[in-house]
């Protein structure tokens, strides 16, 4: 990360100022012009360093109170093809392959599933189970019971 991008990250990681010209304020605090700021932000959006610019809603406040982390033990030779299909489901917000840690942890595919009730989330999990069935050995769903900490990521 170059010094300009680091200054932009520092000026925005806590969030944008809610003023009529927020980007002007960010540019001033990063010590660059607004045009330079837009060029850097456009580049970071294009290469994926910025995923998106906007609002992060609290799932619970939108009524998505049944948030399950579904975890799946999927055959290694099938996990990438099937993971891509799970990630494309509308109710899945994050989908990753992660390493197994045997013997304590056998699951290699993680999909965050959101529903407005436990029944809705369970139905979503059942849809994933059907999709993975040919390569599936075991699965589980871990429901969150409490948020212990949630802060913006601090990068610079």
């Amino acid at each position: 990360m170059n010094a300009t991008d680091a200054a932009i990250v520092r000026a925005t990681q806590a969030g944008l100022p809610l003023v009529p010209e927020p980007w002007r304020a960010v540019a001033e605090s990063a010590g660059i012009t607004q045009a330079q700021l837009f060029a850097r932000l456009s580049a970071m959006l294009a290469d994926g360093r910025i995923r998106r610019i906007g609002a992060v809603p609290n799932h619970y406040r939108l009524g998505y109170t049944a948030n399950g982390m579904s975890v799946w033990d999927v055959a290694d030779d099938a996990v990438d093809a099937l993971g891509a299909r799970v990630g494309a489901l509308a109710f899945v917000t994050h989908c990753y392959r992660r390493p197994r840690r045997l013997p304590e942890w056998r699951y290699n595919l993680f999909a965050m599933v959101h529903g407005k009730s436990r029944a809705e989330t369970d139905a979503h999990v059942e849809q994933i189970r059907a999709l993975l069935a040919p390569a599936l050995r075991a699965h589980d769903v871990l429901y969150s019971t409490r948020i212990l900490k949630k802060t913006g990521l601090r990068l610079a």
Binding site: M1, V9, T12, Q13, A14, G15, L16, L18, V19, P20, P22, Q34, L41, M44, D47, G48, R49, I50, R51, R52, I53, G54, A55, V56, P57, N58, R61, L62, M69, D80, A84, V86, G87, A88, A90, V92, T93, C95, Y96, R97, R98, P99, R101, E104, W105, F110, H114, L142, Y143, T145, R146, I147, L148, K149, K150, T151, G152, L153, R154, L155
Partner: protein, 147 residues
Amino acid sequence: MDELERAIVNRLQGGFPLAERPFAAVAQELGTDEATLIAKLKDMLAAGTLTRFGPMYDVERMGGAFTLCAMRVPQADFERVASLVNAHPEVAHNYARAHEFNLWFVIAAASRGRIAPLLAAIEAETGYAVLDLPREQEYFIELRLVA
């Protein structure tokens, strides 16, 4: 949640304009005005309906490192361990979950090399092992929840 709040959530999970007056541009799309939109966003952040407003960075693409960690903690010791884990600024999110592995947290560090010593420190402070589950592959997602 009122109609404007719903419209804000559905319009603004991405695509905030790079423009001189971005709130004015979005307000026009939503059929409101700049001052009303800004006031509403402040209210929604204060009320916790929104947790953040701004650019969302991809930690790994920014050169940092990210991992998901799990711990198996006896209930009687849970609050102590959760506090010790939360005290580390690199711990971005931490959730209690109903499972044998009952404490799940995300670490965002400046580099991959910072993660192992941090996990060792958490294990030493708490007395419990940490499962380190970094992402090996991400499958495409469109992060949008409908309000």
